[in-house]
Symmetry: C2
Subunit: 220 residues, 2 copies
């Protein structure tokens, strides 16, 4: 394994350990010591990549948005739905997504700026909806920025509620309900009728992505 | 002032002080000492009403739902919208509502059961939507429980986002956007066309309620 590969893997392992500590204890109670213990690393390895607990938290929040990429679809709004469903599915067990979700909803007794995470998601969704508009998929009445912010805010609350009631097992279903309620106000009819809002879609897409990645690795 | 009146006011003053401490510091960092200081009360007065910090937090969460009562309207769905808008308005400066909101979204590093608050709101909304169904205001496709839970979850996230970006100054507007996106999937057309989703409505209703209360007091 090349040295650069190793550095990337080390960084990722530290991030995942940090995210799981943030998920369990929140920012204030998280300690570098516990991150080191979970990652099985030395202080030197960690401080080579991250200067502080705050740096770790910011990196977790940034990694979260980068991680969501879905297969291109004929209908751009379907990609928007898919990104939501893949995220909902990953929030069940992906440490980065879970840790970032907790960091993003904590009301700051700390210096972390929660707005950065929400603004990143807002831009991500706005980008997808903007492309959908360019293809004529959106109703005239849609204001892309408003709809994007509605989606980000509502999703944050739904994942929190799902976390409290089912450790996020029912999040895909709650998201489908959200899409069923809002898509008729967003999509033109010819797009609306073709959307797949099924709550199992996230699991299927994630499985396909995983198989694709394994094929990539085998082909090397 | 009768002794019972005094006891009710003392209890309320303690609750408001506790709620503002929870709002500022969260549950874990809140202390009874700071609650006493803000309320200007003795330990004895507080412990007469509340046995512990946990009891205080549970009382704040219960008071929150009790506090929302809106004027009866011809259209029941309008009362549902109104309850949301009044809550959005109060979340800007009502200590009970602000404290309860923070308690409800904190991911438990504590013994508080966040589900109680969300479940209470869910029942409140389900009750309103159930009455709307009884009057034929809802589309056949609406599943009252699903829509109620969507509303509670989405509201929790929208108020959190609004808190982060504007200290909740833009919450009424965000809520209007939510209603504009969802009501066409909930209300029958003859009701939909009559709904007032204006984001200033919460402020107007609250002002009317306040004037009504002052008139009540003056008439005593």
């Amino acid at each position: 394994m090349a040295q650069q590969d190793r550095a990337i893997r080390t960084r990722r392992a530290i991030l995942e350990a940090a995210a799981s500590v943030f998920d369990d204890h929140g920012y204030d109670r998280a300690t570098i010591a516990e991150v080191l213990q979970r990652a099985g690393m030395t202080k030197g390895a960690l401080y080579f990549h991250f200067a502080s607990k705050e740096q770790l938290a910011l990196a977790v929040l940034e990694e979260q948005v980068v991680d969501i990429a879905v297969e291109p679809q004929k209908i751009k709004l379907q990609e928007f739905v898919d990104a939501g469903q893949v995220l909902a599915y990953r929030l069940r067990d992906d440490p980065i997504q879970r840790g970032a979700a907790r960091l993003a909803v904590e009301q700051g007794s700390n210096h972390l700026d929660r707005r950065r995470s929400m603004a990143s998601w807002g831009e991500f969704v706005e980008g997808l909806l903007g492309e959908a508009r360019g293809r004529g998929e959106l109703l005239e009445t849609v204001v892309v920025r408003e709809t994007a912010e509605l989606f980000v805010g509502a999703f944050a609350g739904l994942q929190m509620m799902s976390q409290a009631f089912s450790n996020r097992a029912d999040l895909s279903r709650r998201l489908t309900v959200f899409f069923e309620h809002t898509m008729p106000s967003i999509a033109v009819p010819s797009v609306l009728v073709r959307l797949d809002l099924d709550s199992e879609r996230g699991a299927r897409l994630e499985e396909a992505l995983r198989r694709g990645r394994m094929a990539d690795v085998a082909a090397r």
